[in-house]
């Protein structure tokens, strides 16, 4: 069976989101199918400027075909148009223009899909909101499987997506909340789909002691891993943490790992480590009391799964229904909706190590039951298997 994975960007340098999700799934499913990746030459998700050379290459054993982006995104023009569409009455044509402005505009990728559709059994599209998914699925709906990686976003109200969600043969959802949201938008309960997500692999060894020594960490700490951005709820996290620190005498620190798009407040108990290697990340996570996930919008938080894989509890933002849902289903994390809940939950985690251990244990079990690669691969195989049966 030959399966194409279609995604907006693809490369070893791309470290997060749907692109990494796609790469991991493609590399794992390459064992079962003849996998090829169809993507653009872009590396930057803001402008989609051509970065990688055009043509075909092999990355970790997977064949990757790259297609040029004909026009990079103008972020200002795109922002203006999006604001207008979100606030004013508009037509489907306006939304299609928005899609072109959003990009990555790569008509040659769609032409390739159309011309070579008979060579592939299925096309798995990642990220519903981009040009490649919309026009790709419209080109070959009968062979399309969509991994929407959708989060609660104001653009989901666009009628363009309501129609898109009714087209594919099947869906691969990241969470139950995402599935409910898409069903609510499109009323497409009749289209088959399963909640799958993505797996992760925890390294066998990591130097936690060395990490603690290197950063002179004697007190407990909670850790945030990811892009430090206002959209990820980091501004609120800083505010809550500093306010809590003013009133509380509990000695604990907040460790931040990841690239920063936000000014990090200067505070003796906030330690910013910048972008860290995978080994250091797992060492830091292993030494932490808990992982904090302040994000308002998540389709699936990979780092939360990694924390659970390591047996660490999570303190999540309750306003992100996906995170809250995962905490409830796994019984492996607490959540907060405001400052009071933040302080109380954090105090509880910091003061009750038995609770942390139990939550961590639950997290590990939840991870092993749902997010190991064996489980993920089986779910993908089952989805395609059921489509094959349907075809017969």
């Amino acid at each position: 069976m030959k399966v194409a994975f279609v995604v907006q960007r693809y490369g070893l340098e791309i470290n997060g989101g749907a692109e990494l999700h796609c790469r991991w799934v493609a590399e794992h499913m390459n064992k079962h199918w003849d996998v090829e990746v169809l993507t653009t030459r872009a590396a930057d998700y803001i402008t989609w400027k051509n970065h990688y050379p055009k043509g075909t290459e092999t990355i970790n054993g997977v064949t990757v075909h790259r297609f040029s982006v004909t026009r990079p995104r103008d972020p200002e023009r795109f922002g203006r148009l999006q604001n207008r569409l979100l606030t004013e009455e508009h037509r489907l044509e306006d939304e299609r223009r928005w899609l072109e402005e959003e990009g990555p505009l790569s008509p040659s990728l769609i032409e390739y899909i159309e011309a070579h559709q008979d060579e592939y059994d299925y096309f798995i599209f990642f990220s519903y909101r981009y040009y490649h998914s919309y026009w790709g699925i419209h080109t070959i709906p009968h062979k399309s499987i969509l991994v929407p990686t959708a989060e609660k976003d104001s653009i989901t109200v666009f009628s363009l997506f309501r129609d898109l969600f009714r087209l594919p043969r099947a869906f691969v959802y990241n969470s139950y909340e995402e599935r409910a949201m898409i069903h609510g938008i499109a009323g497409n309960e009749d289209i088959p789909g399963d909640v799958v997500g993505v797996g992760t692999v925890v390294p066998h060894s990591f130097q936690t002691e060395a990490f603690l020594k290197k950063h002179d960490l004697e007190d407990d700490y909670i850790i945030y891993i990811g892009r430090i951005d206002e959209n990820k709820g980091c501004a609120e996290l800083f505010d809550f943490f500093i306010r809590m620190k003013k009133k509380s005498e509990v000695p604990f620190k907040l460790i931040l790992c990841g690239s920063s798009k936000l000014k990090i407040p200067v505070h003796p108990d906030i330690l910013y480590l910048g972008f860290v290697s995978e080994e250091e990340k797992f060492a830091a996570l292993n030494g932490a009391r808990a992982l904090i996930m302040p994000s308002f919008y998540e389709s699936l938080s990979m780092v939360t799964l990694e924390a659970w894989a390591m047996g660490k509890p999570v303190l999540a933002n309750a306003r992100c229904d996906v995170l809250q849902g995962q905490c409830r289903r796994s019984n492996a994390g607490l959540y907060y909706a405001d400052y009071n809940e933040f302080t109380e939950s954090l105090h509880l985690l910091l003061s009750d190590s038995q609770l942390c251990d139990s939550l961590g244990r639950n997290g590990k079990t939840y991870f092993q039951n749902n997010y190991t690669w064996d489980v993920i691969e089986k779910k993908y195989l089952d989805i395609i298997g059921s489509l094959e049966q349907e075809t017969e």
Binding site: V250, N340, H347
Partner: protein, 208 residues
Amino acid sequence: MVDEQKNGEVEDAGLSNRIDYEAIDVEDIMTRLRQKIAARPTEKDEPEEGLSSWPDDVPAYAPEPKDPGKTGRVKRLLIKIMRPFTPFIKLLAYPIHRELRDTIEILDQTNKRLDYLYDLQHRHYEELKPKIININLRVNERIDIAFNDINRLKEYTKLLHTMTHNLVVEMTKLKIEEENVKLKTRILEKDFEFLGRKEKALEDELFK
């Protein structure tokens, strides 16, 4: 490390005692935490600094009074005597750089006040930012819900429209059908009448 934190953790300890560590129920823990928060006496909000009244640490505009000195006193006396020629004397005895210095001092004071106001504004903005984000999120959520409702209503309206259209078509078809049936009935009535007449004529012929 922190497990032995004492103060303020008494209540947490109370909560911990009620947790079944073998069968953790996160929802139950969160409900209890919320009950605990609700039961707590509400803290008074810190009074917000209003811009109408100046806080104590605002540098006030107060140039330091300076001792005019002997020369100054003589200059003042001379100026008083020579009041009609004041502008001319001022020009000679009150050097321009002195006026410049005074002006710079005033500007310096003003700068300090501006710096303070800028800091104050920045602080206010930083304080309000999370609230603004929060409100923005809530508004967005409500808008999402409203949009979903509107979309659903639109779909219902479309369906109703289609249904009404179908009903009109069906009614028209039925009307045509009814006319056809009426016509057929009339034809049958006439046939029946004709057959009746024929029957009568045949009877007459037979019994003649």
